[in-house]
């Protein structure tokens, strides 16, 4: 039975900078109990198509130019506000990417759950509560009676996403639109959530539209796949056909960009002298008056010219380790860098050492000062450490831009004029500006699209080889780590649980936690 038929949908945005055709001539259909995955990079129009159907496009600046979306006999694009409101949240429900921001922090979880029920179905409070508790059990929230009165901030990301799913399901929708529902979650949680969605779909005969940039997730989930690029459908069809035998060049490119397999020639020197020795590293924070131990007695070495992967889930303390080594947070223990004890240095003594150690951050939108041009951003560290002056400095900046693959013409532009990938190139340029020996890269590709991710990973590998860098590569993405790193250490709740050569650890993980991480990483 066909649940939703979308024909020739076109949506545009009229902004100060002119007309943007976000979605053009998109058509697809979905049956009950079927999963359609819409795949594409950011800006491809995959979210806009679904938001158009839901009537969630702000108009103006947006405008639905043409098309129809027939759901249950109603054309959602050409009906009154009242009609669409009766469908939205009731027969069609949505789950969003970021469970942290999609729950109202000032309402209890239970209150938010029963809201659509009371609003759409006019059931009594006690009945609604009974149903909410049933659903909370169904989506796997422990002790639902107690948690009914819990506040969103008391839940972890995975738990909140379960609440979001329960909220979406409570009015018994026929169609569920999931907009990157697991992107913000850890791999193990991601697997649980996807399993949960699949189970509920089977039980309720739900139609699901699954918006994602992650082809690995899509592979295990979708019946049909629709690939979008710059507002157009480039390919659609049966999931297996599209993913295993892609016809369009772009789909092939997307699939090729997924990190696969192991690093080609991992470094394996015999007993080299470590560049950095971390011993008994402990980092504690004050959280509401309590001491919270983020990093607990961690020991490891970083060897010269190697990329050491640091793997763990969010909250495991992996970023804190990187920041502790660079003295961006206070830590106890010992970090020995070529005979210098970093943790006992004062800021003056640290300054010459900072030149040797740099950091690349996760979010290229936050890690660049929006009011500094690329020139200023790149020149600042070189000026500070007296690496280049005057006209030499200009040459050095331009050379740096060549190095990270940025056109020289961009030198006077500001960060907001760049895409995420280009911004990350700038941030990488800043990190290598002082010709460091060691770089901490904190999830440098996790905010990027998969094709861009591939380019940045290649850039990192190129620079590591060219400048003979050592790198601590922090990531939650095991496929990326496997492709890039020579060795890997695994962190859980601030403790080191396993370390070793990447491939050895992949083939035979000895710790239970590593095994579960690997099992959850589906590609």
């Amino acid at each position: 039975m066909t649940l939703l038929t979308v024909n020739n949908l076109s949506t545009s945005f009229y902004t100060r900078n002119g007309l943007t055709k976000a979605v053009e001539d998109v058509s697809f259909s979905l049956d009950a109990g079927e999963t359609l995955a819409i795949v594409g990079e950011s800006g491809s129009g995959k979210s806009v198509s679904c938001y158009s159907i839901m009537g969630l496009i702000p108009c103006p600046p947006g405008k639905i130019e043409s098309g129809s979306a027939v759901f249950d006999g109603v054309d959602l694009l050409n009906c009154s506000d009242d009609e669409i409101r009766a469908v939205r949240g009731n027969k069609i429900a949505m789950i969003f990417q970021d469970p942290m921001t999609c729950l109202n922090p000032y309402l209890t979880v239970g209150e938010q759950l029963i809201e659509p029920l009371i609003y759409h179905h006019k059931v009594s409070r006690s009945e609604a509560k009974k149903k909410a508790i049933e659903l909370m059990t169904e989506v796997g929230i422990r002790s639902p009676e107690t948690n009914f009165n819990a506040w969103p901030h008391e839940f972890s990301g995975g738990m909140r996403q379960r609440v979001m799913i329960a909220m979406a399901l409570i009015a018994e929708p026929k169609l569920l639109i999931a907009d990157e529902p697991t992107t913000a979650l850890d791999v193990t949680i991601q697997k649980q959530i996807l399993d949960l969605v699949a189970e509920i779909q089977k039980k309720r005969d739900l139609g699901i539209i699954f918006i994602s940039h992650d082809l690995g997730v899509v592979k295990n989930l979708a019946d049909k796949v629709l690939v979008m690029k710059t507002g157009h459908i480039v390919e659609q069809g049966n999931a297996q056909d599209v993913l295993e035998n892609p016809q369009h060049e772009y789909t092939q490119k997307l699939l090729a960009a997924i990190p696969k397999g192991a690093k080609e020639n991992p470094k394996a020197e015999e007993n080299p002298e470590p560049l950095i020795q971390v011993k008994n590293l402990v980092t504690e924070f004050n959280v509401n008056g309590n001491r919270f131990r983020a990093v607990d007695n961690v020991n490891f070495d970083i060897l010269p010219k190697e990329i050491l992967g640091l793997v763990g889930e969010s909250g495991s303390g992996k970023s804190t380790i990187g920041r502790s080594i660079l003295r961006l947070v206070d830590a106890q223990g010992s970090v020995n860098y070529r005979g210098d004890e970093l943790l006992s240095k004062n800021p003056q003594q640290m300054k010459p050492l900072r030149r040797k150690m740099q950091m690349i951050f996760q979010d290229p939108y936050a890690s660049l000062n929006p009011r500094m041009t690329i020139y200023e951003t790149l020149a600042e560290p070189m000026k500070l450490h007296g690496i280049a002056k005057g006209s030499e400095l200009n040459q050095a900046v331009l050379k740096l831009m060549d190095d990270v693959g940025l056109a020289r013409a961009f030198v006077k532009k500001y960060p907001h004029e760049f895409s995420g990938g280009q911004r990350q190139r700038i941030a990488i340029g800043r990190a290598i500006a002082t010709k460091p020996e060691f770089i901490v890269a904190d999830e440098p590709v996790s905010a990027l699209d998969v094709t861009i991710q591939k380019q940045i990973l290649e850039l990192i590998q190129y620079l590591v080889d060219k400048h003979e860098l050592s790198m601590l590569f922090i990531s939650h993405d095991l496929a990326v780590v496997r492709k890039l790193c020579d060795r890997v250490i695994v962190l859980k709740h601030g403790e080191l649980v396993e370390s070793g050569n990447v491939e050895a650890l992949w083939q035979q993980p000895s710790h239970v936690y590593t095994q579960s991480l690997l099992a959850a990483a589906m590609h």
Binding site: M350, K351, S367, R371, T373, D403, G405, A407, V411, K412
Partner: protein, 303 residues
């Protein structure tokens, strides 16, 4: 793959290198953008024009500011007295020009004091955080809690009445709000990763605050500054009214307006002309402030 597209445009930018070498791009680019904003530019010229006239007043004023013509009394605008005369027969144009000197000076100096102290104080407190922040902000709270009038009266009693002291006293009160605004901004900005990046480069605290924090907090600061200037001018009028500010026969726009209100029905020009002068300046300041804020926001425009 890395250097593949970088030779592109190489030759064209080589000539431009000299340009980005000099000065601070933020302010340079802001000026370029401001020049495109007609309203802001006109406002700037109006302000400069009025400023120059006030500066040159002692030499170009048609009469003396205390020169009375009691026989004339309050006369309507005429060829001899463009703005008319007040009840003592003093030329209003001259008095508006002299009054502008006081009003603009108090507006600029007191606001500059407020801006300097407020931004520095707020930025340091917000960036350092912890105990330093607590102490600095409690101090702000304490000064806030002091009754403003008593504070000024005390200052006047201790140091004697002087115009400069008046400016400083007003500035010393106005910076409190500025400090709070800046502190709030800075607390948000210092958590952004580019600040951490600046630390890991090895920049000193002062350099981070100056180069990375303050430029990103400028938007609200500019808006609040344009609100402070009229505030300060009116405060001066109020203090003068209480006998704590400037004394007759000297005047300021605030004083002239206050006097004009008293005789609004018989001699409306006594209110209209000083009021007009103040309004034009305030309008210009607001347009300029808006323009400046947009110009400093590098994200606002595409070029």
């Amino acid at each position: 793959m890395t250097a593949s597209n970088s030779t592109l445009n190489q030759t064209s930018t080589m000539n431009d290198i000299e340009q980005f070498e000099s000065g601070n791009s933020l302010w340079h680019d802001a000026w370029v953008r401001l020049r495109k904003n007609k309203l802001a530019l006109v406002s700037l010229f109006v302000l400069i024009f009025i400023g120059v006239i006030c500066l040159l007043t002692p030499w170009i004023a048609p009469y003396g500011y205390e020169q009375q013509d009691l026989a004339l009394g309050a006369s309507a605008p005429s060829a001899a007295h463009w703005f008319g005369t007040d009840t003592l027969g003093r030329d209003l144009l001259t008095r508006v020009m002299y009054g502008g000197r006081v009003s603009l000076a108090v507006g600029l100096i007191a606001t500059a004091v407020a801006l300097t102290i407020g931004v520095t104080w707020g930025a340091i407190a917000g960036y350092t955080g912890g105990r330093v922040d607590a102490i600095m902000m409690r101090l702000v709270d304490i000064i806030y809690a002091l009754p403003f009038m008593i504070f000024i009266v005390l200052l006047m009693v201790v140091f004697g009445r002087s115009l400069l002291l008046l400016f400083l006293a007003i500035g010393a009160v106005e910076w409190l709000t500025m400090a709070r605004i800046v502190r709030g901004q800075v607390q948000t900005i210092r958590q952004l990763e580019f600040v951490e990046a600046a630390i890991s480069i090895g920049l000193s605290k002062a350099a981070i605050i100056r180069r990375h924090i303050i430029p990103n907090a400028l938007g609200p600061v500019i808006v609040y500054t344009t609100l402070t200037i009229p505030n300060v001018m009116l405060l001066e009028a109020f203090l003068s009214f209480l006998g704590l500010g400037i004394q007759p026969p000297e005047s300021s726009w605030g004083v002239l307006i206050a006097n004009g209100v008293e005789s609004m029905e018989e001699y409306p020009w006594l209110l209209i002309f000083p009021g007009l002068a103040l309004s034009i300046v305030l309008f210009s300041l607001n347009f300029l402030g808006d323009g400046l804020r947009d110009a400093l926001d590098v994200r606002a425009s595409k070029d």
